[in-house]
Symmetry: C2
Subunit: 184 residues, 2 copies
């Protein structure tokens, strides 16, 4: 698709080339993402992310990342960092945003700004075990995009819809994913 003069900083041609290459090499498309977590004290932990596996070999981010998580003071914790469930909003926001930029590049739409506000509603009676009919996680998540781009409202809405359709995190949150937990 023509993208002359449009530059959102996404190398769409490389992604289209990768798509062609991976069509014939399904093994190379199998990725493993990793994290390792260490308990600090109380509800405070630190999680380290750097290596992953993909394209048939070990890969690494340029830099290691260490992320703290904790509970806030109103839960009698020390609020050393944001809560685990806020990380879900971070993942969802950033995945949809990267998708909007990529789809816009592919469709020849110049973006000027993309902002989003996320709200996740949660009833604490779930995790506190007060009412077994109340779930532990979010009841629902609302994402509101505000996008300034050289495109009609309809084209911008279509961009966002296509980003949802291809988003890994949107899929993980809206559909069940198998998680196996065991003790070594």
């Amino acid at each position: 698709m023509a993208t002359t003069g449009i530059n959102n900083g996404v190398n769409v041609q490389a992604l289209l080339d990768a798509r062609e290459a991976l069509k014939g090499a399904p093994e190379a498309a199998k990725f493993t993402w990793r994290a390792s977590c260490k308990w600090q004290n109380g509800t405070h932990s630190k999680t380290h992310v750097q290596s992953f596996f993909g394209l048939g070999q070990e890969q690494s981010h340029k830099m290691p990342t260490e992320l703290g998580a904790d509970h806030p003071e109103i839960f009698a914790s020390e609020d050393h960092a944001i809560t685990p469930i806020e990380y879900i909003l971070v993942g969802l926001a950033s995945c949809l945003t990267a998708g909007v930029a990529s789809v816009a590049q592919n469709r020849g739409i110049q973006l000027r700004s993309v902002e989003s506000q996320l709200e996740g509603k949660m009833d604490l009676r779930g995790i506190l075990g007060i009412d077994s009919d109340v779930r532990n996680g979010y009841d629902d998540i609302k994402v509101t995009f505000k996008i300034d781009a050289d495109a009609s409202k309809e084209d911008i809405e279509a961009l966002v819809a296509q980003s949802q359709k291809r988003s890994a995190v949107y899929d993980i949150v809206t559909n069940p994913t198998n998680v196996t937990v065991h003790v070594a």
Copy 2:
């Protein structure tokens, strides 16, 4: 439950008191967690987390947090930060870890160390749109805990199982959550 001499840094009594208080005040248990995201360039975004709502009023973390996300260089991106889906592993790891510490405190088990390794497997043919039978998100996530504590293997396994049962992020990942996305 007796916790004399056991200190994992979790104020379980405050949580038990909160449970009693919220039994009679379901409105106070309704929380809203928030994040706001700004596209930077390409697949790079920054997400800001600080305020939330709960116990009937506006609340705030002690400090603002800004978290970058990007795609790695092998996806023709600049790898300014970890990927959106790695944030899911961070949330899951830290939620289960906080749960292990809280449950251990409640059960009178002294923890010495809690470490976990997470692996999320993903077939890139999903997000690249190569095969519509391949999902965008993780095929499955494996969490392996290594826990050093004054307890039997069985008691440690029971700790981890109870943490899963009460984990908000485990619930969000393993069960469907409604997400509404719209353009302002």
